[in-house]
């Protein structure tokens, strides 16, 4: 007991030097394994538990120095921070225009016909959604553990593509499409990871994405109404939209989770 607390103490000292929280636990796990391997080797060499632990810790070197070196190896990468800023510029730039950037893009195009707009429908929305995607993926890349950040990025890709497609083609019912995307993504992620938790992560990220989208359109609406009409109208749909988004994200996943756990418990009985 005392031996393992010595190791914990050492690890804690190392941890304090690593400023980037996301990097801490995998790194410490590795260091801990190393100390245990070293200790076991010393025990085989004939030392007792206490001596072996002390020597293994001594072999690691000063925890402050080790921690500092690990800290240097683990910094949020500049490119991720750069992409967050880029995303924010895109989002804010589009939000600051009256009609999701449509008129702005028209200026860039030739005369009244947008060059890119001819080929790409709803370009303003697309840029806004790309901005959201870039921000969320960068945040995920910086703060979430690697396996989770990958999932988050994929999820955001799916959901934002779905939003865009439903905007371009109003015939596809927005709600139906998103429910379909939600269910399919959940199943894909569950198949890959074999973990309901990872699947449910999708619920959270798709909700966050949609929530941001609703908020974004309302900010745009507010700016436009305020600037052009001097009124503050346009918020009446917000509660309804949020409730729909909430149900859309939650209901399918909870149903599937229930199904999966029912199936699992059946398998266990069999």
């Amino acid at each position: 007991m005392e031996q393992s607390s010595k190791i914990t103490e050492y690890l804690e000292a190392v941890r304090q030097q690593i400023r980037w929280k996301k990097a801490q636990s995998p790194v410490l796990e590795e260091i801990k394994n190393h100390i245990i391997d070293q200790k076991n080797a010393f025990v085989i060499d004939g030392l007792n538990e206490k001596e072996a632990t002390d020597k293994a810790i001594a072999e690691m070197g000063d925890p402050i120095v080790v921690g500092e070196q690990l800290d240097r190896a683990h910094r949020p990468r500049l490119i991720d921070i750069g992409t967050i800023i880029l995303g924010m510029l895109l989002v804010l730039g589009i939000l600051g225009t009256a009609d999701m950037g449509y008129s702005l893009l028209r200026i860039i195009g030739v005369g009244d016909q947008m060059v890119l707009g001819i080929y790409i429908p709803m370009l303003g929305e697309l840029i806004y959604l790309d901005g959201v995607f870039v921000i969320i993926s960068s945040l995920a890349a910086i703060f979430a553990p690697r396996n989770i950040s990958k999932v988050v990025i994929w999820c955001q890709g799916f959901i934002l593509t779905a939003i865009y497609l439903s905007e371009v083609s109003p015939r596809i019912r927005f709600v139906l499409l998103l429910v379909a995307v939600n269910v399919i993504s959940f199943l894909i992620l569950y198949r890959i990871s074999r973990s309901v938790k990872v699947g449910l992560l999708w619920t959270v990220t798709s909700f966050a994405g949609l929530f941001l989208y609703v908020v974004g359109t309302q900010i745009n609406c507010y700016m436009y109404n305020h600037g052009v009409n001097g009124s503050y109208g346009g918020f009446e749909n917000v509660p309804k939209a949020l409730v729909i988004v909430f149900i859309m994200c939650l209901v399918p996943q909870l149903l599937i989770t229930a199904l999966i756990s029912a199936k699992k418990s059946k398998e266990q009985i069999a």
């Binding site: 796990e29 590795e30 260091i31 394994n33 190393h34 070293q38 690691m60 190896a73 500049l78």
Partner: protein, 113 residues
């Protein structure tokens, strides 16, 4: 951002060389290196892990986890194509360097590793 001095040293080359043969976890690398060099290279864990992590970020290595002794999860490293290419370059540099040193010392010119 990244400590360049860690990368320029020959330690990188030695680690890449070890992993070129087989996938390993950190402790194993230190042991292998000690055995293969007749105790000449006593690589410290405090040097090894930051270096491994930097090499992984540079995509010269990849890592995967494997459960050992039922409970403990070990992090194994394996070399990538980029890593092999880097190893080749380092080897060439090393040969030129040792040949030059040997030349100066007046001994026979031979490159090891």
């Amino acid at each position: 951002m990244i400590d360049k001095s860690l990368l320029t040293g020959s330690t990188t080359m030695l680690i890449l060389k070890l992993l070129d043969e087989t996938n390993m976890y950190g402790y194993q690398m230190i042991e292998e290196l000690r055995e293969k060099s007749n105790n000449t290279f006593e690589l410290k864990a405090g040097t090894l892990y930051p270096l491994l992590h930097i090499l992984e970020q540079k995509k010269m290595l990849t890592s995967y986890e494997e459960t050992a002794d039922n409970t403990r999860v070990r992090k194994y490293y394996s070399i990538t194509k980029t890593g092999r290419k880097h190893l080749q370059e380092k080897k060439e540099e090393w040969k030129i360097y040792t040949a030059a040193v040997n030349n100066l010392l007046g001994g026979a010119s031979f490159g090891t590793i």
